[in-house]
Symmetry: C2
Subunit: 333 residues, 2 copies
């Protein structure tokens, strides 16, 4: 069942209302902990932090803690730590990818250069661990330090496959599980852990986060060939220009004739691209229904995410998390 745009926005509003009070504390703590005697740090970090990110990951942490009946305050620090890890990886990713745009604004490294982007990323990463220490939970520190290592591995894996038109769907799924889903999974799982729930519920929320994260990245990768720049907040065709083999291209390559394989080899492997090539790439992806297939794959992951929540009794929060999964898919339309 695909919901209309209005209904979907309403669905995310429901989750937002349930975590709104907590999220305002998180936003205040983000601003507080970005502070430094070195003015460039809050200036650069603020550029990204205030650029209208959706705070999906910290919302997951807050929602997971609430779903497990948490009554304390440590989830605020934890959710802030999660957002800082995300922000740090964005700063480093933009340096790595040489992206010009991030959330519709010039990327930080374009304005301030690579060096401060790397260092402010390191600063936020450190701040994130300081916040986790304040929660007093070694388990949370374990979950998020593991996730951080996996994210870095995923990013390096992605670098290694750049321009490799022989990359298998399985490898691609492994990369996005590491670079994106690991933090979604850790955000949700650590919310359950801080609430001191049982292992079954921890595992359920970890699975929800993992599957939602995969779906989220699949839809992102589909939008890179189908979205509008204004909606994306980043340039359409970034992955194409970077030679990143994402599922839409892997699917199109699976159905490609000789000429088409040659096109992908020239543009992605040899990175020889003319202005018209992105249009042709989109044409080939549409010809082979690769966007629809990618979104359909994403839906199988959101279905799995929602199934994982079955260990929880019906509640407004559980329904809101199911709706978030639905929203994730609806972004593709």
């Amino acid at each position: 069942m695909t919901k209309g745009a209005g209904e979907t926005a309403g669905a995310v509003d429901r989750l937002y209302r349930l975590v709104e009070a907590d999220l305002s504390h998180v936003n205040a703590l983000i601003l507080e902990r970005m502070r430094s005697d070195v003015p460039l740090i809050p200036e650069l970090a603020g550029h990204l932090v205030n650029s209208g990110g959706k705070r999906v990951r910290p919302m997951l942490t807050l929602a997971a803690a609430q779903l497990c009946g948490y009554q304390g305050l440590a989830h605020i620090r934890l959710a802030t730590a999660v957002e800082f890890i995300h922000t740090a990886t964005l700063l480093h990713d933009d340096v790595v990818d040489e992206s010009e745009l991030r959330r519709g604004k010039a990327a930080a490294h374009v304005i301030w250069g690579n060096a401060p982007s790397v260092l402010v990323g390191d600063f936020l990463f450190s701040r994130s661990f300081q916040l986790m220490v304040e929660t007093g939970s070694l388990r949370v520190l374990g979950i998020l330090s593991n996730a951080s290592a996996v994210i870095a591995e995923g990013e390096v894996m992605q670098l290694n496959t750049q321009g490799n038109i022989g990359v298998a769907e399985e490898t691609y799924l492994k990369i996005i599980a590491a670079k994106t889903a690991a933090l979604f999974a850790a955000a949700a799982e650590s919310g359950a852990v801080i609430a001191q729930t049982d292992g079954l519920r921890e595992a359920a929320l970890k699975s929800y986060g993992h599957n939602l994260g995969i779906a989220f990245q699949l839809v992102d990768d589909a939008l890179d060939y189908s979205g509008r720049e204004a909606m994306m907040g980043k340039a359409v065709g970034d992955d194409f220009r970077d030679g990143k083999l994402t599922l839409p291209v892997i699917i199109a390559l699976g159905h490609a004739n000789t000429d088409e394989v040659e096109f992908w080899r020239r543009t992605m492997a040899q990175r020889q691209q003319t202005d018209a090539d992105l249009t042709h790439a989109i044409h080939l992806i549409e010809k082979h229904h690769a966007i629809a297939a990618t979104v359909s794959k994403a839906r199988s992951f959101t279905d799995e995410a929602c199934r994982a929540l079955n260990v929880f009794p019906d509640s407004p929060m559980r329904r809101a998390l199911t709706d978030l999964a639905e929203f994730c898919i609806s972004r593709a339309y």
Copy 2:
């Protein structure tokens, strides 16, 4: 009293022999935790890890734990974590500074590019926190996450003063306290904390590490204008070329006539350098005895470092740490 080179090497040998067994476990753990299913990660990390670093920081952790009578095994993980933080910052620094050489070998980013250097740095940083979690000590996690944030702040401060020929000695000392001494202090303090000693001894080892770290950086900065490339393992004149205002230049500027100020302005602020300029910079630094003054300053910090150890009774380890401070100064000759 300045020791001869042979005697000094003997002094460090004494410390080395006292921590040798522990250090071999640290080296084994470094190799084990560098591992990843992504081959580029151990390859790139190994390039730096196996390049003959002196392991000063993990030795400090091991020595501090021993000095406090520690009998457990967690100091091995802790010392490995300290070395990983150091390695991560080196990888990022080389990207930030665009250095060509590190420990006498091509810097990692020259061989593999900036992107993997940033990401493998992130990986090692995450691994470091995983190791700390395994020690089970939240206090250690607090000390080293604080130090990591301070290091990043110091690096950004340094970026901000690059090319500023008006920078004060006080600002310079603040920068090196953050970018270098913070990790020395944390390495020594956390060794005491893991040994569960009293607050007086923790503070003493923190002070020892802090003052040793300042002295270490002062001597490094002196060597950048006086050392031989083979001895340094990095290019002489790097700071000059980067427009980094270090103490030798700050002192020379303090005694500069109008022509000399103009020289420093052109070469450091406007970064207009000819081949002969480094030679002239070294000449001006020698003319104003700025190397001797820098080393003399370093000695006042090692004196303070050794004084801090007075809370400990005389022992082979305390003497070895005093000798390490002596060695730090002797590197300048």
